[in-house]
Symmetry: C2
Subunit: 256 residues, 2 copies
Amino acid sequence: MTHESPNLKTVTAALLVIGEEILSGRTKDANTAYIAAYLTHVGIGLREVRVVADVEDEIVAAVNALRGRYTYVFITGGIGPTHDDVTTDAIAKAFGVGVDVRDDAVEAMRLQYVEEDLTPARLRMARIPDGAALIHNAVSRAPGYMLENVVVMAGVPRIMQVMMDEVMPRLAKGRPMQARTVRIDAAEGDVAPPLAALQAAHPDVQIGSYPFFEHRAFGTYVVLRGTDDARLDSALADLWEVIAKEGFSSSAGDGS
Amino acid sequence: MTHESPNLKTVTAALLVIGEEILSGRTKDANTAYIAAYLTHVGIGLREVRVVADVEDEIVAAVNALRGRYTYVFITGGIGPTHDDVTTDAIAKAFGVGVDVRDDAVEAMRLQYVEEDLTPARLRMARIPDGAALIHNAVSRAPGYMLENVVVMAGVPRIMQVMMDEVMPRLAKGRPMQARTVRIDAAEGDVAPPLAALQAAHPDVQIGSYPFFEHRAFGTYVVLRGTDDARLDSALADLWEVIAKEGFSSSAGDGS
C-alpha cells in the first residue's frame, strides 16, 4: 500500500469535515488547523476544506466532487455509534460499494470492549465499506479506514490524530512546502507595490501578505512559500533588498 | 434593500473562506466559528463552509457552485491591496460583470486616508464589481460589498465583524434555530439506541450526539436543535424520560 514518489511530484489533498456542530457554531473545529499544518509538514498540499452537515446526500456529493480532483481526500467525523453518524454509508454510496460489519474491525474493537459491550450500536463502528483498508485507532479501537484515495477518520481530535499517524506511511508525499516569514512594520498598502514586483520576479515562489493589528502596532507579515530552498532564499534576499530600499522597519520571524 | 420574511421560511447560507494561510496551517481560521454562531443566532442556517486558496479560478468555481444553492453566500478574505488579493476580480468574473474603482468606495476611504495615501495599491480596495452595494467598514474604511446574494467581507476578524453587523439588517432571516443540551455521563455507544428511537419519534427535531473526554471522565453531550420551542421541549421531556428509564447520570448544560 505504500506509494513512493521518487520524483517528488505535487501531492494534493482536500479535507472534508462532517459536522453539524461546527456549522451551528456550537463547536470550534480544531481539526482543520491540525491537519493543515501536518499535511504541509509532510509534503501534501492541502488545497481545499469543506464542512458539511451530517446529511448523507451532502457527504456523497462532496466526496465525489473532491476525490477526483485531489490526490487524497481526508474526512473527519460521523463514524461513531449513533443515528447521526452517516459518514460510512455515504462513503459506500459515493463509491457504489457495499458496507457491512467486518471481522477485522470487530477484532480491533475487542481490544477495548468486552463481548457484552459489543452491542449493535457499537458494531455500527465496525461497518466498513467493501474494499477499504482499516486505519487502527490506539485510543478507542474503533477503526478508521482508507478506500482508494479517501481517508476516513474520527472527529474526536485525539483519535483523529492517532489515525493520521497511522495512515501517513501509506501515502505518497511531495516535497514539503517551506516558508520564510518577514514582519514589516508598514501598512499593507505601502508594502503592496514592491511586493507585486517581487512576485512577478519570482513566479515559482508564492508570496502572501497578511496585515496584522497588535495592541497599538500594525504592519504586514510577508510569507514566501515554495518547495525549492534555493529559489526561496533568492526571493528572500530580494525581499530584504526591497525592505532596505523602501526604508521599512522589519524583522524575520514566524509571526502570529 | 431590507427583506422581511413574514412567514419565517428557512434561510440558508454558505461561507467561503479565501485563505492560503489557513490551508497551509499558518493561521487558524477564527472567522468560521464567529460567523457560524452569529448566523445561527439571527436565524440564518449555515449549511456549508469551504476554504479555498487565493486563486481566481478556484474562487469563481466555488462562488458559482454555492450562490445558486443557498439564500446567501458569505465570503471572507482577499479584498486587500496586494497582488494576492484576487477575490474582487473573481466575484466580477463569477457574475460576468465589470469591475472598477468606484467613487463611493473612494469617498469611504477618504475618511481614513489623506489624498497622498490613496495610492494605486490602496485604490485596489475601492474596486467594486458593477451592481454591488457597499458594506461600510468603520474600522479601516475600505468597504466590503454585497452583489445579489453574495456578501464579500474582509478576512481580518475585527473588520469582518463590523461588516457582519453592517450588512445584517439587509438580509432575510428565518426563525432562529434553538438548542437544548443535556450532558449524559455514559458512553455514546450506550446512549445510541434510545437516542435513535427518540430521533424517530421527533423527526422535526435534529438530535446530535457528541462524545466527550474530560480529564478522567467521559460521556456524551446530546444536543436537540429545532426552530419550534414546543417541539423542542416535547423532545427534551422525552429525553429526560429516557435518561431516567436507562438510569443514566446526567445534567442540563451547554457543555464544551
